[in-house]
């Protein structure tokens, strides 16, 4: 390190947390910052751009091509969406299905996650990986096959059928993330609770569950959003009785003015934005990443 300093070069020493003397920024590093800035800006436009455009669209009256912003503003598209009984009904349906699917998914997957985390049984690893199969093949093929089965079981166009088909998309992370969350609770913490007199159930509710809760919470949010956004399977199984918001989008894009579709898209995005903001801390904290590092 000292040799490098004496030569006055700007070679950085990696991985050594020593105090480095202040250096003047070289032209190369300025260029680096500019390129970095442009990339960040591009990313922001890529992510925020469509939403911004949708927002403009949703409030626009007359908007012709060369103009950068709409000619005049209106909220009539919002009114028309909220006045439309069909659309309103689909919103209601979506907000019924998503919580139901989340709860059912949790009821099925959380015990499985606990078992994957705490027990060793033959085929544990195979089972864990095989959950990924639902995401490994084109979904629509899977749904068509399911539809065949559902006709036979009289589940087509039923509430239960829609719940089943939406569950498919939630199983992987509803199992993996809580498995990692349970695994990250050291066994010695549970043993210590047994040691001071807590029975197995009390240990679970007083120690294991509170410590795994953030991971479980993230998984439930993701399940809620997956169910809320699921269109293909719901369309195939649910029509004509159960038309949720995303399935309604198909009709909307074809049959309604563009602005109404924009309003509807925005409404569809609202829960995602709110919920993701809510769990930002936990997702950033690596709970999501942990799910993919189960041993």
């Amino acid at each position: 390190m000292s040799v490098i300093e004496q030569q006055g070069t700007t070679v950085p020493e990696p991985a050594l947390p020593l105090v480095r003397p202040r250096r003047r920024r070289s032209p190369a590093s300025w260029a680096g910052r500019v390129v970095g800035g442009i990339l960040v800006l591009a990313l922001v436009v890529y992510m925020i751009g469509p939403l911004a455009w949708l927002s403009l669209r949703a409030f626009s009256g007359l908007w012709q091509f060369p103009q950068f912003v709409p000619h005049d503003w209106t909220i009539k598209w919002w009114r028309s969406v909220f006045d439309d009984q069909l659309l309103l009904h689909s919103m209601k349906l979506s907000f019924i299905f998503a919580p139901v699917v989340t709860v059912v998914s949790a009821a099925i997957c959380l015990p499985a996650a606990y078992a994957f985390s705490r027990l060793t049984f033959p085929g544990r690893r195979v089972f864990l990986i095989s959950l990924f199969a639902a995401n490994a093949f084109p979904k629509f093929g899977l749904y068509i096959t399911m539809a065949g089965l559902f006709y036979y079981l009289h589940l087509m166009s039923t509430f239960l059928g829609v719940v089943f088909v939406q569950l498919i998309g939630t199983v992987v992370f509803m199992t993996w993330i809580p498995t990692a969350a349970f695994s990250s609770v050291p066994r010695s913490l549970e043993e210590a609770a047994r040691d001071v007199g807590a029975g197995p159930l009390r240990v679970f509710f007083r120690v294991t569950f509170p410590l795994a809760a953030p991971g479980i919470f993230v998984a439930m949010i993701l399940a809620f959003l997956a169910s809320f956004d699921e269109a293909q399977g719901t369309f195939l199984v649910g029509v004509p009785t159960y038309i949720t918001m995303p399935t309604e989008m198909y009709t909307l894009v074809l049959n309604y003015p563009e602005q109404a579709a924009a309003v509807f898209s925005l409404l569809l995005a609202v829960p995602s934005v709110i919920l993701m903001t809510l769990v930002r801390k936990h997702v950033m904290g690596g709970k999501l990443a942990e799910g993919f590092q189960i041993r």
């Binding site: 050291p186 010695s188 913490l189 043993e191 210590a192 609770a193 047994r194 040691d195 001071v196 007199g197 807590a198 029975g199 009390r202 007083r206 120690v207 509170p210 410590l211």
Partner: protein, 359 residues
């Protein structure tokens, strides 16, 4: 049936345990008297932690019994045993404050709130942590976490306290201080304690008795002094402290090592003659001054300063021998040495004089 020791704190009666198809603990017998601190000392894989976990109820013995105060607890789960454990990584619950950590066990016992408060405060005072009563475990130092774990274990007034390498996560200086604190508290309340460690220094300095374990069984169970002075097997001899071990023969006035080197020795554990394994502590290797009788010629290979003494690595015939000598011994290329004391082993077991053995 073996005899019941009156007031026996803890008795392990011919306990065996297999884990993963391997015998970890094999036909183990151990008895810890009430109020006594016993160390289970041994290398990793010797079965000491498994033994401790069986006492705590985290593992059940495949054979044998564990008795606490004369009562068989072998089949009880941890929550129903009168034992408390301090875990290696402390295992404090991160979502509870220090107060709640210590109070948890009392709450499960449905004690009145006011009494819980008093007992937790008393206990935290005992371990010197009253000022951290509302802190969370992540906010206090390793040594403090250690003492919270101890308080959490002691507040339930267990009959037996179990400590699983409780000092291994502390740095060297703190380790010495905390182990003395643990010993001091243990003696003050007079609790029967089993302490697992692989650190012989730790074991020698705080135990009433030490059980040196190897291969799932107790090699020797004795107090620190006899363990060091009279290790019963070559394993104990080399595991506790440093020991020079050679093949050789006992001859009149001393021992003869492999290459026919004759070393005078004043005190032998046996006067039988013949082939033995000969064990000599480095401090029992004495340098013979000129004109102070006979000694074997040894050359100095290395000299290691150790502070108040120095360690010499000597060449003696074809063998190397370690000696602790005073720091002020003038340096030299060669010394004449004799053994002040030597232990004789046959088939890895300490060989005592026939007369002593019969007596």
């Amino acid at each position: 049936m073996s005899i019941d020791i009156p007031n026996a704190g803890l008795r392990i009666d011919r306990v065996s345990k297999d884990l993963g198809g391997r015998r970890i603990v094999s036909d183990l017998d151990l008895e810890v008297r009430a109020g006594e601190l016993t160390c289970l000392l041994g290398p990793s894989g010797c079965g000491k932690t498994t033994t401790l976990r069986m006492i705590g109820g985290f593992l059940y013995p495949d054979a044998g019994r564990i008795l606490i105060d004369g009562e068989d607890v072998s089949g009880l789960p941890p929550e129903r045993r009168p034992t408390s454990m301090v875990f290696q990584n402390y295992a404090l619950w991160p979502h509870m404050s220090v107060f709640k950590n210590v109070a948890f066990g009392l709450r499960l016992r449905k004690l009145p709130k006011a009494e819980i408060r008093v007992r937790v405060e008393q206990m935290l005072e005992l371990v010197g942590l009253s000022h951290h009563i509302d802190s969370f475990p992540a906010r206090i130092s390793g040594g403090e976490q250690q003492r919270v774990a101890l308080a959490r274990a002691l507040v339930l007034e267990p009959k037996v306290l179990l400590l699983d390498e409780p000092l291994s996560n502390l740095d060297a200086k703190l380790r010495v201080r905390v182990r003395e604190e643990i010993r001091e508290i243990q003696q003050r309340i007079g609790i029967t304690t089993v302490f697992v460690t692989h650190d012989q220094d730790e074991a020698l300095s705080i135990s009433d008795r030490i059980a040196v374990m190897s291969g799932g069984n107790v090699e020797q169970y004795a107090d620190a002094r006899s363990l060091y002075r009279e290790p019963a097997t070559t394993f104990v001899a080399s595991f506790v402290g440093t020991m020079n071990v050679y093949r050789g023969r006992v001859v009149p006035g001393g021992v003869e090592l492999g290459d026919g080197v004759h070393v005078p020795c004043a005190e032998l554990s046996s006067h039988d003659t013949g082939e033995f394994e000969i064990g000599v502590r480095p401090e029992d290797v004495h340098v013979v001054a000129d004109g102070d009788g006979e000694g074997a010629e040894a050359t100095v290979l290395r000299e290691v300063p150790r502070g108040h003494y120095k360690e010499l690595v000597l060449g003696l015939g074809g063998e190397e021998i370690r000696a602790f000598v005073p720091a002020d011994l003038p340096p030299s290329d060669r010394f004449r040495i004799r053994f002040a004391r030597a232990l004789l082993y046959r088939d890895d077991v300490l060989h005592r004089s026939q007369t002593t053995a019969v007596a």
